[in-house]
Amino acid sequence: MDLGYLSVLLFNGLVNGAFYALLSLGLAIIFGVMRVVNFAHGAFYMLGAFAAYLLLQQAGIPFWPALLIAPLAVGLGGAVCERLLLRRLYTLDPLYSFLLTFGLTIFIQDAMRLRFGIQGQPYPLPGELASSVSLGLVSYPAYRLFVIAFSLAVCVAVWYVIERTRLGMVVRAATERTELTRALGIDVDRWITGVFAFGIALAALAGVLAAPMRNVSPLMGSELIILTFAVVVIGGLGSIAGAVAAGFLAGLLASVGAIFDPAIENVIVFALMAVILLVRPAGLFGSQEAA
């Protein structure tokens, strides 16, 4: 097998990993602080892509500003969902919030399908990144390299905020021991809307990044979300670093697996999850005591 082909596969793996990482990072933050398994994460990812598409179609706003505006707008929508819907369920079994986000997913998907049809809409590559970059052995699309670098930068920034700032300290404390954190004088509920909105904004950001690579369609999030759940489990529920590492790892392995058969990409992610659950039930970065 030639090296050029292999390196293309590796870069493809990193691109897929970038999406897994952004999505599972949001899921992990939301689950950590709120104990909510947000099934609607894929739907918000799709809304992010549609927001970029509509900004361009309706207002002529191109990719770069959309990369900021769409996550903000969708994140705001997430905040509204948290305030109006999720907030009512915190005292109940976590199953209820899961079912709510499940229902929300179906609602959002069908609403978008009704309005835009099932067919995918194309979204143009931003002009600055439409070319290819030579990487020695092969040339690779500049936009895809940008996706890898940008999502890595976002992950590192989020990690920094969580590990090195007071905000992050509160998020870590609330993730580890929510009730105790309240008893130590911290109004955890005040932070929750923001945490949910932030996780949703990350999903929407991934959606905007996906728009020029994949067609913008109402169902684009539904397959990805299942894989992302597997990635979160691999990384360790609620583990921030685990979500990012597992995201890139799963992307790489799936892409290498595609050498043998492109159809087994997804199988590999789930096989990896099964192996990890057998060997380290709490996931790669999960605290083993909690399992």
């Binding site: 007071r166 300290m169 509160v170 870590r172 404390a173 993730t175 580890e176 021991r177 009730e179 105790l180 954190t181 309240r182 008893a183 130590l184 004088g185 911290i186 109004d187 955890v188 509920d189 605290s287």
Partner: protein, 230 residues
Amino acid sequence: MLEVRGLSAWYGQAQALRDVGFDVREGELITLVGRNGAGKSTTLRCLMGLHRHMEGRVTLDGRDLAALPPHKRARAGLGYVPDDRGIYASLTVEENLLLPPQIGPTRWPLDRVYRAFPVLRERRAHSGAKLSGGEQQALSIARALRMGARVLLLDEPTEGLAPVLVRQLREMLLDAKREGLTMLLVEQNLRFATAVADRHYLLAQGTIVETLDATEIVARESELLRHLGV
């Protein structure tokens, strides 16, 4: 200062507390003594607002706490030292100290915490999980002192500590008391309770069966030890 009246609590159908009442006056150190399962931890959790399935009245300086969520109770001056010490593994020792807001005029600057607990300064950059049992207990208490809590609620602080550490803890509580801090101590360790407290409430099967002052408890020690099943 802290008044508890007619406190009852349930876990599902099972009643854990029945008509519990007691007072902690300013500057006092009182204990709730009782054997395992008597309802001591549940009482503290009710005071902090962490256990919601309850009835009764809890007031701090005459202010009814019923409507206050846990974080407002902490800000009203209740410092909670839970039975498992409540140290965050995902935070460093220093972050554990810096997490709670500083309230009240009696709050301790970080500097003072480190002077009182030099071992915490040594370990300031370590994860909270890396501390020994005694260090975790010190950190948990130091955290409440740094907040400037006016009433410390301590849930079995001696549990699992070596005798030498229990002695240190006793000195620490007596020092805090001399400075005027009010404390509600929950204990199974009667010897420890006797050495530090002004008054004792004996808790059995969710009710207060006796109130004893410091001299009575010494006179009746062997009887009480039998009662505690030691």
